[in-house]
């Protein structure tokens, strides 16, 4: 697949789907229901776990999971930018204000301003939580075929929401291609350089405006086609998905056991085996 992306730090759905459709690995062959359940387990674990070492282990497991999917690590590093920015923009202020022992401090206007140990731990914890889920989520989307995503979405979402979701997924590729074409055309004419706010704003408004106008045109065509085919409120979903295998059930069962331990040690006792 020719690499043609709009941004180096935002995952490109075309590339994600390309890897899902063309790849072959143990994770690619895993049952989609098992993958969805594992994602939910990871989300539940990052929310309930409080110990930094447990979170580090969870992140390491999600990286191994990514590797088992035979997915490129260098792409993942670029795609970490967005969650990194989100977490750091939130955590940066807590680095200085979280009560605790100072690691580094500067005297400014008669007051000690510095980074506290607890602030650093909080930032690291938030970062590990976010990266563990992002890695797992990307692994699942980069290894699950469109027809399987469609099947799962049509089963777990309300009908109307599933219809909107599936149509969006189907047309996000065309819309991205269209935006890429216009951005390329603008750049080839020397656009994309900051000259003046008005000129810049107008140039990008042309791109975005055209994308919205084309979206409405396309929506009308699709609506006519849906009506002509006697749309009954549900898209036919092809490719039935089998039930998870015994190994899949076991994997999810282990995950649930870890959630139970995590919840117990969070709310009842620090020692998860105290009940023994």
């Amino acid at each position: 697949m020719a690499k043609r992306q709009l941004s180096r730090h935002i995952p490109d759905f075309r590339f994600v789907t390309f890897l899902a459709e063309s790849g072959d690995s143990a994770v690619h062959r895993m049952n989609p229901w098992t993958k969805v359940a594992l994602l939910l387990v990871v989300v539940a674990l990052v929310t309930t776990l409080v110990n930094i070492y447990s979170l580090l282990l969870l992140y390491a497991i999600s990286l191994v999971f990514y590797g088992l999917g035979r997915l490129p690590y260098q792409v993942l590093i670029g795609w970490y930018t967005m969650p990194l920015v989100f977490v750091l923009s939130l955590a940066i202020l807590f680095l200085f204000t979280e009560p605790g022992d100072m690691v580094v401090s500067v005297n400014a206007f008669g007051q000690d301003v510095g980074i506290t140990e607890e602030g650093l731990a909080l930032a690291l914890t938030l970062l590990l939580r976010a990266l563990a889920v992002v890695t797992c989520s990307l692994t699942i989307f980069m290894t699950t075929k469109y027809e399987h995503v469609a099947h799962v979405a049509s089963r777990i979402m309300p009908k109307t929401l599933a219809n909107i979701f599936l149509l969006t997924y189907r047309f996000v590729f065309e819309t991205t291609d269209e935006a890429s074409d216009i951005v390329d055309a603008m750049r080839s004419r020397g656009g994309g350089l900051i000259r003046s706010a008005t000129r810049e704003g107008r140039a990008f408004a042309g791109i975005f405006g055209l994308a919205f106008v084309h979206a409405f045109d396309r929506a009308e065509t699709i609506a006519k086609a849906m009506e002509a085919r006697g749309f009954s409120g549900e898209f036919p979903v092809y490719g039935p998905v089998a039930r998870p295998s015994l190994a899949g059930y076991c994997l999810v069962g282990i995950g649930l056991l870890f959630i139970a331990i995590s919840v117990y040690s969070r709310y009842i006792s620090d020692n998860p085996f105290s009940w023994w």
């Binding site: 990052v46 939580r129 989520s137 047309f171 009308e220």
Partner: protein
């Protein structure tokens, strides 16, 4: 980005459940109302195409003197499809965003609530300024968008302030004060997005005024054209 998307693990499980309950309490009656009006294929297709555009245009980097920014266009979605359908668009956009790490899965309720607020304010502010007061398309689009994004940035601060950050020993007031700094930065980026939205609204108004709920100017019929001028 014009507002912060929260990542997984930022809130405690209790607060995730609270925001999920709030979103459900809004979405259930909304689904009921929208179902009563009938989800025509056109409405479903328009909502899906808008969601696809929001996902796609988010990937485009807009260079600014502050560095490249990504625009979300949530208020514009409100202006184009209304608050009801716009809320569903926001939910779908957040599902896609969570899939690629742009906001967490457990944060979908909180992030969708912020998106819904921006969509709703975008729609009503634009209706008032453009349809009722007849203000120029650019200024109506700019003001509505900037107002909606400012409200969205404050909503993020409010949600974080109420929920607190998991693992932090700071009081709610201190968390609120900390995140207020972020809100100020986001308001700045929201103004940039407001300017671009103003231009987009002007562009759409010239090309397809019906998308903004306006009548297209009538073209002279071929029969009334002067003979021999073609």
């Amino acid at each position: 980005m014009a507002h912060i998307h929260l990542e997984d693990g930022a809130f405690s499980p209790e607060w995730i459940l609270v925001w999920a309950a709030v979103l459900t309490a809004i979405l259930v009656p909304l689904f009921y109302v929208l179902k009563k009006r009938a989800f025509s294929p056109r409405r479903i297709a328009v909502a899906a195409m808008c969601a696809a555009v929001v996902v796609a245009v988010f990937m485009v980097e807009v260079p600014t003197p502050l560095g490249p920014v990504h625009l979300s266009f949530t208020p514009l979605v409100g202006m184009l499809v209304g608050p009801g359908l716009g809320a569903l668009v926001m939910l779908v956009v957040n599902l896609f965003s969570a899939a690629i790490g742009h906001g967490g899965w457990s944060m979908i309720p909180a992030n969708t609530l912020v998106g819904m607020l921006e969509v709703t304010i975008g729609y009503y502010a634009f209706s008032l300024l453009r349809r009722k007061l007849g203000i120029d398309r650019f200024w109506a689009g700019f003001s509505s968008s900037a107002l909606a994004l400012t409200a969205g940035a404050l909503a993020v601060v409010l949600i974080i302030g109420i929920s607190g950050i998991q693992g932090s020993d700071l009081s709610r007031e201190e968390v609120f004060r900390n995140t207020l700094v972020l809100a100020i930065l986001n308001v700045g980026i929201g103004i940039i997005e407001g300017v671009v939205t103003g231009f987009v609204v002007s562009f759409v108004g010239k090309v397809r005024p019906d998308m903004l709920g306006e009548k297209a100017p009538e073209l002279p019929s071929p029969a009334s054209a002067e003979p021999g001028r073609a």
